[in-house]
């Protein structure tokens, strides 16, 4: 089972603070836009590098990164 | 000061301020928060000792603002809580009164009026009739305002203030004056005569086994605020319907009706009796609740009386409510003293004779 995060797309306001926090650089600004008009943060971990460290969720001011799992 | 009054059916000679304080104790007041100001300081002095003796809450607050906001806090938990103050310091409390009205919190405020405006002086006054009945806080709200005229009524209306405040979840003020606060009369305390009101449906107790409760006034939606204000004012109508209280003597056949509340009503009553001896048809109506004001009764009496005279210790404040009730049917005159002792009996009689000749 891989470490991963769950993003609540309705809550992301596009502050992108999480992007800088990820030690593995797995977060980026995606193409998808939510109903706040925000280009959503995207979790992209093709090589299963996520550490489950929750730095991103700790930083997120809007509870948009709502779950973090460590494998 | 350290005299400790107790629950008793025997008559005791005491000051209005002590009567109010001891009645609050008997009414089950759980919290007193206050800041000193003449002429009501005896209330805080008495409470400081008595509340500690009874292991109830007492704080010498850093200001009147803090004191009344502590009362708001305590009342949000459903507790019986009060503060007491006077005129220029009650002015400081207006913001919290507006919040309490909006939050529908059962706070009890004792306002023992002194001379104003500004720092004024420590003589008796009724200069805060408008402050109590119209209010100095923001928005459309009402306080229930009770006006004792005797030391016994200081007791009775303190009991009533706690009851009405909790029954209607509405801030309630006992509007006394410096004369009443300092005056000694025999009183009987008896038992608290009202049922306990159940606050469990709204009080903040911690969200255990239910969803969280919020007591707030912030209303970002105009629609919600319209709905709230309509409901609030429906409550005021109900209070008006249920709780308007006044004393009325010799009004049935009266040509002249004196209207007076608080300590000047005592001289007005004596003057009325003197005038009756002189064959003048004079009656008196004494509002006991200032909000709700006995407007309906005054309006009825305006059909039979030829004149109303308001007797007040101010420049004429209650007279406005009398005029609104009379609605132009007959003249409304004023006998006043701007500040200090009430107009004397002789002064009132003399003026009535003059008015009845006109």
């Amino acid at each position: 089972m891989m470490s991963h995060i769950v993003i609540d797309e309705s809550k992301c306001k596009g502050c992108y603070l999480c992007i800088d926090e990820c030690p593995k650089k797995l977060l980026k600004i995606g193409e998808k836009v939510n109903n706040l008009g925000v280009r959503l943060v995207e979790f992209d971990d093709p090589n299963h590098e996520c550490l489950g460290c929750a730095m991103c969720a700790t930083r997120c001011p809007d509870l948009a990164i709502k779950e973090v799992y460590k494998g | 000061m350290t005299e400790c009054l107790t629950k008793t059916n025997k008559k005791i000679l005491t000051k209005g301020n002590y009567a109010i304080a001891n009645a609050a104790i008997i009414a089950g007041c759980e919290c007193y928060f206050g800041y000193p100001i003449t002429p009501q300081s005896e209330i805080g002095e008495f409470m400081s000792g008595k509340m500690q003796e009874l292991k109830r809450a007492y704080v010498s607050a850093e200001s009147e603002l803090a004191a009344i906001n502590m009362v708001l806090g305590a009342c949000s938990t459903g507790a019986k809580a009060m503060t007491s103050s006077s005129s220029c310091a009650v002015a400081l409390m207006q913001e919290a009164l507006s919040y309490a009205a909006s939050d529908e919190l059962p706070i009890v405020l004792v306002s023992v009026m002194r001379g104003g405006p500004g720092l004024g002086n420590i003589y008796p006054s009724q200069g805060d009739y408008n402050q109590a009945t119209i209010g100095g806080g923001d928005g459309d709200y009402k306080l229930i305002a009770l006006a004792p005229a005797t030391v016994q009524e200081c007791v009775d209306l303190t009991y009533k203030a706690f009851y009405l405040a909790h029954k209607y979840k509405n801030p309630t003020v006992i509007l006394a004056d410096g004369l009443l606060g300092q005056m000694m009369e025999p009183v009987e305390f008896g038992e608290y005569p009202y049922p306990e009101v159940d606050n469990s449906g709204w009080a903040l107790t911690g969200a255990k086994g239910r969803s969280a409760r919020v007591i707030r006034s912030y209303a970002p939606s105009a629609d919600n605020q319209c709905e709230f204000l309509n409901r609030l004012h429906a409550k005021y109508k109900m209070i008006e319907h249920n709780e308007t209280q006044w004393e009325e003597i010799n009004t049935e056949d009266a040509d002249i009706i004196l209207v007076s509340f608080g300590s000047p009503a005592r001289n007005a009553k004596s003057a009325m009796k003197e005038c009756r001896k002189l064959g003048l048809k004079v009656g008196i109506l004494r509002p006991i609740t200032l909000f709700p004001f006995p407007s309906k009764r005054i309006s009825e009496l305006a059909n039979t009386a030829k004149k109303f005279i308001s007797v007040e210790i101010n420049m004429g404040q209650m007279i406005r409510d009398i005029k609104l009730a009379v609605n132009g049917k007959v003249p409304v005159e004023l006998i006043n003293r701007p500040v200090g002792n009430p107009p004397s009996v002789d002064e009132i009689v003399e003026r009535i004779i003059k008015e009845s000749e006109e």
Binding site: K13 | G73, C75, G206
Partner: protein, 253 residues
């Protein structure tokens, strides 16, 4: 690689179900509210808590926490908290205030609650401005800081000096715990949570007034990106408002 997954982050139970913060993007208020909720969860306090919200951006606290709450008039939160705690000493009581509410209009209530040693906790968000009203000069606005009411920057001649809140609160004899923390980095967020937890525990033990000042951002009114805003906290605020524990009566010496 193990076969099991451990959930190491979730939305705290003390946050209302489905709550969405109404703060501006990147605002640290959201982090602060979440930390409070996490600590309420961890200490099992939610069902016994009465929170006092204040005026400003902090007023919305009661929209997000599944906790009984009273809204205090501007500056009066600690008077309300005093009334609640004195009436119901068995309840857990905390305030959540901004720097303007706590240290400008409410300075008397704040200081006197600390002096009386009221057994309540105050959380104060210091973002050096009045945020909700559009970024005016407040009690903690730094010298030189441009706000809508200090258009050429805070100067001493017109405005005097900013207040170091925690230092003042720590001087009060009734204060049991006073700490200043920052939310500029994840390690500092963790320290902030530890301070909130400590403050809450102090109240649970009945030791007196506990206080946490949280250095936070206001990207909107500072006209900075959330990233630049944290940089400002580090480079401009923290040298003046130094993080640390200023008083802890439970510490060994």
């Amino acid at each position: 690689m193990t076969n099991t997954l451990t959930q190491i982050f979730k939305i705290p139970d003390s946050i209302k179900k489905g709550a969405k913060f109404s703060f501006c993007p990147g605002c640290d208020h959201g982090v602060a509210v979440r930390l409070v909720a996490e600590v309420l969860d961890e200490l099992g306090l939610r069902e016994n808590t009465i929170a006092v919200a204040s005026i400003g951006c902090s007023v919305t606290l009661y929209d997000f926490l599944e906790v009984d709450s009273l809204e205090a008039p501007h500056g009066r939160a600690l008077a309300e908290a005093t009334g609640i705690k004195r009436a119901r000493p068995d309840k857990f009581v905390f305030t959540y205030q901004g720097d303007g509410d706590f240290a400008s209009i409410g300075m008397a209530e704040s200081m006197h609650s600390a002096l009386r040693g009221e057994n309540v906790t105050a959380i104060c968000i210091n973002n050096t401005t009045y945020g909700m009203t559009g970024g005016q000069l407040g009690p903690t606005t730094l010298l030189g800081q441009v706000t809508t009411t200090s258009p050429t920057g805070r100067n001493v001649e017109y405005y005097g000096y900013p207040i170091k809140i925690t230092e003042h609160i720590a001087l009060c004899d009734g204060t049991a715990y006073a700490a200043r923390v920052s939310l500029d980095t994840v390690p500092n967020i963790r320290k902030a949570k530890a301070a909130i937890k400590k403050a809450f525990e102090i109240q649970m033990k009945g030791l007196g007034f506990s206080f946490v000042e949280i250095l936070a951002t206001c990207p909107t009114n500072w006209k900075k990106t959330p990233q630049q805003a944290h940089q400002r906290v580090r480079e401009e605020m923290m040298p003046v408002f130094k993080p640390g524990v200023y008083k802890d009566i439970t510490a060994n010496n």
